[in-house]
Subunit: 208 residues, 2 copies
């Protein structure tokens, strides 16, 4: 079984909340490095990555480009066409590894969801995608649990900090420097980022 | 097997970073509710809770009270005396559940560690506690990995957001309102806390 792994991806001006630490060009390169890490984890877990982009992106990956709608509209246009089990996973999860993705796709329930911080949904696996639709933004985890319940679908909540940790804010970079092993960690280190301790909390600083 | 679960606990003036939202009395009650949730998870996983306190605490639990040293000193005085497998778990993990604690104590390695946010160590299980010592504060996760390596101990890193999520800051309370099921969530709800969305991030507000 090689289910498709839909990865929504925004190539231009990504990760604006990191603007205080990274230039536009660096944010684009960093987002690409995180995407590479997610794709590596997904491929090792025997899924086939498919990028879902809002604009054409220079890459050799399989791409679906939808320009006239938002994330929910794009995904909900694709799901009814996928006749077999389908994974959706976010591109900003550089701590994702083979084991955590495998836990998501090997559920014995109808659906599995890996929640993100603040009630987000970082990965969702549907055995019958035509029976489900997505509703991202806000506390999408709670919305997805409700959609599943209303559709009579059983749900597995995947307890993984690797999939819980999306990289949005400057302090999130510390998690990547502590637990990351892939290209995005190397990219940050190449820019001179190191761990630092301020007021008892661990953060990052840029040395050069 | 019913290994002891050492739970460091500070009964007086806990969780000062929540002072903007909770009074001193409320912080003490909230800390007690979180401790109850951790104890329930630990007991359901067949461990025996032992509170490690810096002062005498009015409770029916087994207690070790050490007043003349810090957290590391206290635990490192206890570990050499524990002849069998021993768990240390923090008291501010109200999302801990039976399954996540079981994953920690059922490792086939010498040691298992559940990292906390920012490089902390939220749970650690030692099959031979006399071969290990703790070094909390800062990036203790990295320090513990190094101590294990130097002692020749194999380590399992437990990938759990339930054990990763320690409750320190106001925005952490959102995680508890989303994923909690125990006494500490009920306590917050009883005080009027609800989820709120500000600037796209989910947080909490107190309605009364």
């Amino acid at each position: 079984m090689c289910p498709p792994a839909l990865i929504p991806y925004k190539p231009r001006n990504p990760k604006t909340r990191l603007s205080s630490l990274l230039s536009l060009e660096e944010r684009e390169q960093f987002a690409t490095a995180m995407l590479e890490d997610v794709k590596a984890a997904v491929k090792d877990a025997m899924c086939s990555p498919v990028l879902v982009c809002s604009e054409l992106f220079d890459s050799e990956d399989v791409q679906v480009t939808i320009t006239d709608t938002d994330l929910n509209g794009s995904l909900n246009a694709i799901l009814p066409q996928n006749v077999g089990p389908t994974l959706i996973i976010m591109a900003d999860l550089p701590l994702a590894d083979t084991a955590s993705v495998r836990r998501v796709i090997s559920t014995d329930k109808d659906l599995s969801i890996a929640p993100g911080r603040g009630g987000g949904t970082n990965a969702i696996f549907m055995k019958e995608p035509q029976r489900f639709h997505v509703d991202y933004y806000g506390t999408s985890f709670l919305k997805h649990m409700k959609i599943a319940e209303e559709a009579g679908l059983s749900v597995d909540v995947i307890d993984s900090f690797r999939l819980h940790t999306d990289i949005d804010e400057p302090w999130d970079l510390a998690e990547l420097l502590i637990h990351g092993t892939g290209k995005s960690r190397a990219y940050l280190e190449g820019l001179g980022f190191i761990l630092s301790a301020e007021k008892g909390r661990v953060g990052v600083e840029r040395r050069r």
